[in-house]
């Protein structure tokens, strides 16, 4: 579904990603793990179209989306649960969800249906449907960010650090929702601090260190890897 070929990404003159190649098969969950500052969020932003790579290609469903603006990328069915949630604080839960579907034609037409679906995943959001998003707790906002991304009826969903700052119970809810969405056919590219959980769910895992891919394997194998165990699982 998504093929990233040898991209090099810069912030101004400073290089952040070197020669990154990643493949996300359709219908799968792919995890990217790495320490803070390894470049995970940079990668997500690049796929989303907010940053443009200096070289290399990003191919999505056969379309070359390299260097295209974010509104183009999104309208083709890639949504993003960003790091830090980035919800619209003065808009209500309803308006935030609605905006997730606003710029994708198919999603907009089916928005009522989709909203029912996300409420089934996150009943708490339904309770707070008219509340200003900025007044909700961190956990609730995170659920909102995931729900908003789902409102786009994405074919590919980029998920960046969803469990950051969440209680274990909420983390479970969120990951459950991701699994359910995946079952409904949403391909997921996941970046997570919680290495154990994310590699458990993942079909394929990539390890990103200092802007470079250093390992690629299926999730379970990576979990058993001694380097991973030492560096990321604190074993």
């Amino acid at each position: 579904m998504l093929k990233i070929e040898n991209i090099n990404v810069f912030y101004g003159l400073v290089q952040a990603l070197w020669d990154i190649s990643i493949e996300v098969p359709e219908g799968s969950i792919v995890s990217i793990v790495g320490a803070n500052g390894a470049g995970k969020t940079t990668l997500m932003r690049t796929i989303n179209g907010i940053i443009k790579p200096k070289s290399g290609k990003i191919i999505y469903n056969g379309i070359d989306i390299t260097g295209k603006d974010s509104n183009y990328v999104v309208s083709n069915g890639i949504t993003h649960v960003p790091e830090g949630r980035q919800i619209f604080p003065k808009m209500s839960v309803y308006e935030n969800l609605e905006i997730g579907a606003m710029f994708i034609k198919d999603a907009w037409e089916k928005r009522k249906e989709t909203m029912e679906f996300v409420f089934s995943l996150f009943p708490r959001l339904k309770e707070r449907i008219n509340q200003a998003a900025g007044t909700m707790s961190g956990g609730e906002q995170q659920m909102l960010a995931v729900a908003r991304a789902l409102m786009g009826r994405p074919k590919l969903m980029l998920v960046d650090e969803p469990s950051l700052g969440l209680s274990p119970a909420l983390t479970l809810t969120v990951f459950d929702a991701l699994k359910k969405a995946n079952k409904e056919g949403v391909t997921i590219l996941l970046v997570e601090q919680n290495v154990k959980k994310s590699l458990e769910m993942a079909k394929i895992g990539y390890v990103l260190e200092n802007g470079r891919i250093v390992m690629k394997d299926d999730g379970k194998t990576l979990l058993a890897n001694p380097h991973i165990k030492k560096a990321y699982l604190g074993v």
Partner: protein, 288 residues
């Protein structure tokens, strides 16, 4: 008592112009994130265009008002595309310098056009029309401005809350990064917001050409007052702009009538208020 009512009426009507100008600036500052020092100059261009339409083509300002506002909207989009786009993300200083430069350019073009005429006036038949109700003088054209201002506030409110474009603008204003994430075409939104922003200024300018006159230098005063009102109302707060304009209009009127030497103060009062608010409640005094 009569005087008191007249003071209130004067203040309320005067606030109409402030409302329209400030609404425009609020869009530029809030949605596009541009500190547009040239805002008042677009008002001035509106006034000039209205006068040109009247003197050269014989079209009454109340009819040309839509065309003029549209022309200035297009001028705004053009200005955005050519110059402002490039400083959107740079330091505020660059924005201030750039918009200041634009204001100087517009002023000079106006000076060239008006030549030796210090003041350009037109005389449509309803210019001096006013009503006298129980000794209170109410100007027709100022009342018109006030009504137009209210209509604009309501319309803007509707658009921002019930249309895709409007919601996109609010989203961009509240979280620009989030707006990119959900696929909003930010460039398109900025273009539209900036165009509407200065289009509103131009509209106010047309009304001003009826109430007052056009000179190349009328713009700056309104820019400053609009900034003051935005600070008082708080960012993104439409209703706040309405109330702040009313309050400041009435204070200005009361100072000018009741306080000896008050008109000198009334300019200063706007800036005194900004200062106090910045120190005490920087997010504005009106609740959203």
């Amino acid at each position: 008592m009569n005087t008191f009512i007249q003071v209130l009426v004067n203040g309320i009507l005067q606030s109409g112009t402030y409302m329209i100008t400030t609404l425009g600036l609020a869009l530029a500052v809030g949605v596009v994130g541009i500190l547009n020092l040239a805002h008042g100059e677009f008002l001035m261009v509106g006034a000039f265009l209205s006068i040109i339409f009247y003197t050269v083509f014989g079209i009454d300002p109340l009819i040309s008002i839509l065309i003029v506002s549209l022309l200035i909207l297009l001028l705004g989009i053009g200005t955005y595309k050519i110059s402002l786009k490039k400083v959107l993300d740079s330091a505020e200083v660059n924005q201030l310098l750039l918009t200041f430069g634009i204001s100087i350019i517009l002023q000079n073009i106006a000076v060239l056009y008006s030549g030796s005429k210090e003041v350009m006036v037109i005389n449509p038949p309803y210019r001096d029309l006013s009503w006298n109700i129980e000794g209170i003088g109410i100007s027709f054209s100022k009342t018109l401005v006030f009504i137009i201002a209210l209509i604009l506030v309501i319309t803007l409110f509707y658009i921002l809350n019930n249309t895709k474009v409007g919601k996109s603008m609010r989203a961009v204003e509240q979280n620009r990064y989030g707006a990119y994430i959900v696929g909003i075409n930010a460039d398109r939104i900025f273009k539209i917001a900036f165009g509407v922003s200065v289009g509103l200024a131009g509209l106010a300018g047309v009304m001003l050409s009826i109430i007052l006159y056009a000179t190349p230098f009328i713009g700056f005063n309104y820019t400053l007052k609009a900034f003051a009102i935005i600070m008082m109302a708080g960012m993104g707060n439409l209703r706040g702009i309405l109330w702040s304009s009313l309050i400041l209009g009435i204070i200005e009127s009361a100072l000018g009538t009741y306080v000896p030497g008050g008109t000198g103060w009334s300019e200063g009062i706007f800036f005194f208020i900004i200062l106090i608010i910045l120190l005490v409640k920087p997010e504005g005094i009106f609740k959203k």
